[in-house]
């Protein structure tokens, strides 16, 4: 049996394990079964107990590391140093890491890559295990959809080790029948990475469902006309159990927060349904959403580029369609 697979759990602002961490654990478990590798969870936070227990719902072994300095230190350097120490102390060095493709996950992956001298495959949309063949060693095969999904690739690691960043919603998190166990660890000999102090944590939003995790996204663009227009979209999102997204034009206009921006410099999403209102479908927007399963667009311009890749393209004034759709959905809900 080769080196194991480690899943690094991530916590939200309230200290709870993120949904994506469960997905990463589930994906890693499948890898481990296929490749006969041990899969271990790792949680490094100031107060790891809750999150570690949550991760143990998915993995038989979870290492909980208490890192009190994380209360006022940026996470990545603290977590990276602990993981390197844990790995060095482990009976067998982990070969693979599965992390969530989040800002924190990326930061951590970049640091671990150079500290452990291993490669990284980013934005995985699927994971399988390849048996050794044709001189290529056994290992994870990582599916990706670069360039906004215009091409599908699958890649592997050339050495028998690597880090995988998994995108949200690619895997359905499935707990174990029996939760695993949590072991607290206190690694010695922790690297001294340069500290970054957290002076303040400013909370401005009620953390609703993030658009990367939503099954349904109701997105608005410049055509929505203003912040009031987004109120209508929020109602629709509520009725459909989804989240509100936006184009850059709407974000730049200050109608809605950057966290909702979809596209090249915003989030990449892959919901079951993407409902766009007054979004023209510029290439920079398209790359963030074109792998949605179903795309419905409402735009009054019959030549809007989004019409070229929407599954249903409704040429109409959204100001009239949004309330009518809300009424229709309410009526269905009874």
């Amino acid at each position: 049996m080769g080196g194991g697979i480690w899943v690094v759990g991530e916590v939200d602002a309230a200290g709870a394990l993120t949904k994506l961490s469960g997905e990463a654990a589930t994906a890693a478990r499948a890898l481990g079964e296929a490749g006969s590798r041990e899969v271990t969870g790792v949680v490094v936070v100031a107060e790891p107990d809750g999150a570690a227990a949550s991760l143990a719902a998915f993995l038989s072994t979870v290492l909980a590391v208490r890192a009190p300095e994380m209360a006022d230190r940026a996470a990545s350097a603290v977590v990276a140093a602990r993981i390197v120490a844990l790995a060095a102390a482990a009976q067998e060095r982990p070969a693979y890491f599965v992390l969530g493709a989040t800002p924190d996950g990326r930061d951590l992956a970049g640091m671990l890559s150079v500290l452990l001298e291993i490669g990284v495959l980013v934005n995985a949309t699927g994971l399988t295990w390849d048996a050794a063949a044709d001189g290529v060693p056994a290992g994870p095969r990582v599916e990706m959809q670069p360039f906004g999904g215009r091409v599908l690739t699958s890649s592997g690691f050339t050495g028998e080790c690597g880090i995988i960043l998994l995108r949200p919603n690619m895997v359905t998190a499935e707990p174990l029948a029996e939760p695993g166990s949590v072991e607290e660890r206190t690694p010695g000999e922790v690297l001294d990475l340069p500290p970054v102090r957290v002076i303040e944590r400013v909370v401005t939003e009620s953390p609703g469902p993030s658009i990367e995790e939503a099954r349904v996204i109701v997105a608005g663009g410049r055509g929505v006309g203003g912040p009031d227009g987004f109120a209508g979209l929020r109602e629709l999102a509520g009725l459909l159990g989804g989240a509100v997204g936006a184009s850059r034009a709407a974000v730049d206009a200050g109608w809605i927060d950057y966290a909702t921006q979809i596209g090249q410099t915003g989030k990449t999403v892959k919901p079951a349904v993407y409902l766009a209102f007054g979004v023209s479908g510029a290439i920079q927007h398209k790359v963030g959403m074109q792998t949605a399963e179903t795309i419905i667009a409402v735009d009054r311009d019959p030549d809007a580029p989004i019409g070229e890749f929407a599954d249903l393209f409704v040429v109409a004034d959204l100001a009239a369609v949004v309330p009518a759709l809300a009424a229709a959905l309410r009526a269905r809900a009874g």
Binding site: A74, P103, T204, P207, Y258, I295
Partner: protein, 258 residues
Amino acid sequence: MRIVVLVKPVPDPGEERLGDDGRLDRSVTAVINGNDEYVLEAALKLVEAHGGDVTLLSMAPAGVTDPIRKALAMGATRAVLVSDPTLAGACSWSTTQVLAAALRTLEYDLVLAGADTSDGGGGIVAAGVATLLALPYLSHARRIEPLDGGVRVERLSAAGHDVLEATLPAVVVGTQLLGEPRYPSLRGIMGARAKEIAVRTLAEIGLADRPVGGAHATTALRATRQPAPRGSGRVVRDLDPVAAASAIVDFLVERRAI
């Protein structure tokens, strides 16, 4: 303040394709990675307000200078381009080694990089660079402010933002919220021709015999596929709002979305 901005020439978004060798086809028009333009703008504003200069650092094929010229035209002082035939097909680990080695040959207080790249880069390189150089690493910035001997960054978080501080030199990764990049002025464009683009080989940054570059890639493309084409979409028009709404509801039902 001496600032180095990491800039990556990328294929024009929407035009990217893979060549037969599975590597990025470089014949497509190259532009500056969008996110890098935001940090370049932030760097230019910082030196305008506080003095100093901006050096661009890029790892790219030697021919790809148009995007670098454009960044110079926006106002950067000079550019260093690490270019070596062996770097074709380099993985992110190699890129990190190369950029860190090049930075060791430069003087700076701050290194800025964009959040990720539009050609499939994962936004992991800058963290590795900071780690190799033992510098503080501050990411996902929506605001960068110099302090006496340090830097303050507002880092986007899931629920708002965190205010971070670290000592200089440091590596900061920025987002679109840093502000719209400027257009290069014509004076800048004409002046950019006279600015230096120093091309460095691996040997010149001290990596001659290191295992970096395409031959030592840590990752490998195994296969590519074209996505299944989307069936051609249905278009409805000239409906009254109620009929348009029910067309959407029917479609959602048909797709089992509700």
